[in-house]
Subunit: 360 residues, 2 copies
């Protein structure tokens, strides 16, 4: 490749489009005649305001976000959202959490500090499936139902949203944000750490229905209130300006590719290459139920830990980076987000096929 | 200049060293043969761990941070610290805050949500001085004394730390971090948003004495506990990797210039150019008491708001950017952090002299 770049299968931070990185590089010393780098700009300047306004509008265009939803750029990662969500949305102190993997489990732990949490879990089979949520028994005074829509570590994706029976749905979309069309009106709150499928780490996008933003929480830390960020259009304090700038470029890039419908098609094709290989392989096999397989994170294993480690070392040596699986699942994991080219997946599969042939 | 860059007098985000920006640009598509940009790196990878380890060590070298202090990289800005500090350090629920300007005032508001706060303020003269803290009456069970060591908006700097009579001293050093030598042992906790004197927005450096890190706060949101960040060496969740990378480069750059002693000398020279001009000008004058003038933020005014606005417009047109003063002080403000070259200050002063001559 032009810059001798790796195919990087990291679960996040992860690959970004090369064309975006080139633009960022070229604007480093002087952003469009402003006389400065974006990192040096006052967040109160007109030139930066244009950057943040365009980023928000491009995201609204991509996801067709209705006018009654606010888009917020907040620091602190998903981890801070694990706390902000119950602190802001628990009016009655009750929520239902679907624990389908490591990330929803972490969210449960934080929510329990705030209120009463009913947990529906797939822990019994190491989160290899998603609990049936077509007919949940949800108490009337439940404040919201929480899901992690794509579990990065365990490699599952919700194919059909839970039936919340009219209750607010909250979704962590970190590892599948912008990977496919999304009907925002189905949710009360969507959030995503941008470091997996969009840009650099250090920022979460929160999309929240306006009526869920409360103005009676002034005793909470000011940074922890959605109202603080909503009232100031994400500029109450200095935001992660660099992440807004980089993500804005990715939003424009996705629009140029045809938006989320186009990404969905590309992502299905890419994942198909991986799963077709796994389904016919005698050495490698996937770890989750076929119906809920993630298009973004593909965990797979051999029959031995030694062989797993051997494969990880061999792929790394061949320029396929970060394929080691998370310790809670073991084996390997190929994260194939928006910015991973199809050729990267095809090349990996060719490599694995050859490895299997030579080592069987 | 080589890249037609402005002299940018922004209060933050603010100028970064051109040599650092060039390095970042050159590493954008492939960081030192890693095959990826730093924004794309797994924060759990060896290559990124080296970046974060070096950043911490270089900061320790610069500030000669004793071994019994932890260095933490946390998101959420000073605003989140306004809450984290009282939530973590108030054992007895009592603190003394010296309110010497807009930023300590904001800190007071958050601390009052957590405990009892004694406020010693210089609000009576619009924060143009720093209260005498040589012999404070501090109750024995006070948990800490809080100062903002350089008030960005009001343009004052502490010349001598308050006499805390053995109580823990907490300091917000955001707008003077690394501008002069600092005896870390005088403090229990120092923090700084890095977007003023170091790098890009979206990260705070916290330097905390280990015995102040409590392990009995598990009911706090996990992100809000210093213990979370300390135990995981700032990697409990994905940190602002890009900010760590950029700040690390600035730390190395400052070391190459001779460290904080050298920066202190340069900064005194730069500020002297500004203050010498203001002290002899008939049109412009500084707004704070001479003894507590900041070396970093120099607010000044003319005798009329119309003239102030005219000067701001004229400087901007001439390539001196972001000189408009904060609305609470009015007039103009020149922020002259570490990365502002002396030539920038000299050129501004020449411009102001000419403006005064032509408009008197």
């Amino acid at each position: 490749m032009k810059y001798d770049r790796s195919y990087n299968f990291s679960a996040g931070p992860a690959m970004m489009p090369e064309a975006v990185l080139e633009e960022i590089r070229d604007e480093m010393l002087n952003y469009r005649g402003s006389g400065m780098c974006v990192m040096e700009m006052s967040h109160r300047s007109a030139v930066f305001q244009t950057i943040v306004d365009e980023a928000e509008q491009d995201l609204r265009d991509l996801m067709q976000i209705p006018d009654n939803y606010k888009v917020l750029f907040i620091q602190g990662g998903a981890t801070l959202q694990f706390s902000m969500i119950p602190m802001n949305l628990m009016r009655n102190g009750k929520a239902v959490y679907i624990e389908s993997g490591a990330w929803s489990k972490k969210a449960v732990a934080e929510a329990k500090k705030v209120g009463e949490v009913t947990v529906i879990s797939s822990k019994d089979r190491n989160y290899s499936y998603i609990p049936d949520c077509s007919d949940l028994d949800i108490p009337e005074d439940t404040d919201y139902v929480y899901i992690c829509e794509n579990e990065t570590i365990h490699g599952t994706t919700w194919q059909k949203l839970p039936n919340t029976k009219g209750h607010v749905l909250v979704s962590d979309q970190s590892s599948m944000f912008l990977s496919r069309p999304c009907n925002v009106s189905d949710y009360g709150l969507i959030y995503a750490g941008v470091q997996k499928n969009v840009g650099p780490a250090g920022m979460v996008v929160v999309i929240i229905r306006e009526d869920l933003i409360r103005d009676d929480l002034e005793n909470l830390p000011v940074y922890m209130q959605y109202k603080t960020h909503a009232d100031a259009a994400s500029m109450y304090n200095t935001p992660n300006c660099w992440a807004i700038y980089c993500c804005g470029k990715v939003f424009k890039y996705l629009k140029s590719l045809g938006g989320l419908e186009a990404m969905d098609k590309i992502n299905r094709e890419k994942a198909q290459v991986m799963y077709d290989f796994l389904d016919q392989s005698k050495m490698f096999h996937g770890t989750v139920e076929k119906e809920v397989r993630s298009l973004m994170n593909v965990p797979f294993v051999t029959d031995s830990k030694e062989l797993d480690a051997q494969v990880v070392a061999a792929t790394k040596a061949a320029g396929y980076d970060n394929l080691k699986g998370h310790k809670s699942v073991g084996g390997l994991r190929a994260s194939i987000y928006n910015a991973m080219p199809k050729e990267g997946v095809e090349a990996l599969v060719e490599f694995l096929k050859k490895f299997e042939a030579e080592n069987s």
